[in-house]
């Protein structure tokens, strides 16, 4: 269960960012912003083996003392960032991967919507509901 989910356009501004409202949202915005640097570094793949470069899932970007941040980049250079609670150790890699898959599928649907202009903030209800299923349920 994620604590914060963000979708970032290829020009590096957020298209969609949603976090659990009980905690300071600004902190999550900042975490996502700093994780972008790590994403860039992974994409440019300096000195990495060719196999790593071809994958869309980027894995654990960096752990902070409270949270773990995972990243995923699409072929159209749109980045997805998921922040999960560090105390939630039961979340396995496969589950994170499937969360990203669902996000990507939902994002593709948003892209194909003729009323959506690429680059606009995402306001789709369907996308919202997919994200809700993945977020920690707030009381």
């Amino acid at each position: 269960m994620a604590v914060c989910i963000a979708v970032i356009a290829k020009e590096n501004y957020p298209l969609y960012i949603r976090s659990v409202p009980t905690q300071g949202e600004l902190k999550f915005h900042y975490t996502v912003h700093t994780s972008l640097d790590v994403v860039e570094e992974k994409i440019s793949g300096v000195g990495k083996a060719l196999a790593d470069q071809r994958e869309l899932y980027l894995g654990l970007l960096y752990p902070t003392e409270d949270y773990k941040v995972y990243g995923y980049v699409t072929n159209s250079k749109v980045k997805f960032v998921i922040v999960v609670d560090s105390s939630n150790t039961s979340l396995r890699d496969n589950e994170i991967r499937s969360m990203f898959r669902k996000l990507h599928n939902s994002f593709t649907d948003v892209m194909c919507n003729p009323f959506y202009n690429p680059g606009d903030p995402i306001q789709s209800k369907a996308f919202d509901s997919i994200v809700s299923t993945m977020m920690v349920q707030a009381f």
Partner: protein, 150 residues
């Protein structure tokens, strides 16, 4: 002009008709652009990341063209300096028009959407380009892609 280049037309009598045609063609092209963006998002959902520009062009020629037109591009040429020419010897949108030089001047209307499609697909893959099309003998046509350095 007999070879049907998209941006130059001389066989219409009034300027009005010429402007109208130009506006329609660019409208079609921009529609193709938006559709191309959505399509490429769907097609590249499961493919690994692209290594370089040539990889992107090969994807367009093979997988993208096959998904949209049920066939591949027949010939891809490049000068390795940002210009690619995609040749389709039997373009699906032209096969029913004619099999030679008849109706050559009407061909650009049918190619505008596809040019936009390619431009939109490339733009979403991070490649800014200008795409033009040219027909000399139907149903073969060539799409010229000029990569713009950002």
């Amino acid at each position: 002009m007999e070879d049907g280049r998209m941006r130059v037309k001389c066989n219409f009598s009034g300027d009005q008709k010429f402007l109208e045609n130009g506006r329609c063609v660019s409208k079609l092209e921009s529609m193709g652009f938006r559709v191309g963006q959505g399509l490429i998002e769907r097609f590249t959902k499961d493919t690994p990341r692209f290594k370089d520009e040539l990889d992107v062009m090969k994807f367009i020629c093979k997988d993208f063209w096959t998904s949209v037109f049920k066939k591949q591009i027949d010939n891809l040429r490049t000068n390795h300096q940002g210009i690619y020419v995609l040749q389709d010897n039997k373009f699906r949108l032209l096969t029913h028009l004619s099999a030679g030089k008849q109706y050559l001047e009407h061909a650009p209307k049918f190619l505008a959407f596809t040019c936009g499609l390619v431009r939109g697909a490339l733009s979403n893959l991070g490649v800014k380009s200008i795409v033009t099309a040219e027909v000399s003998v139907m149903p073969a046509c060539k799409f010229q892609v000029m990569i713009q350095k950002m």
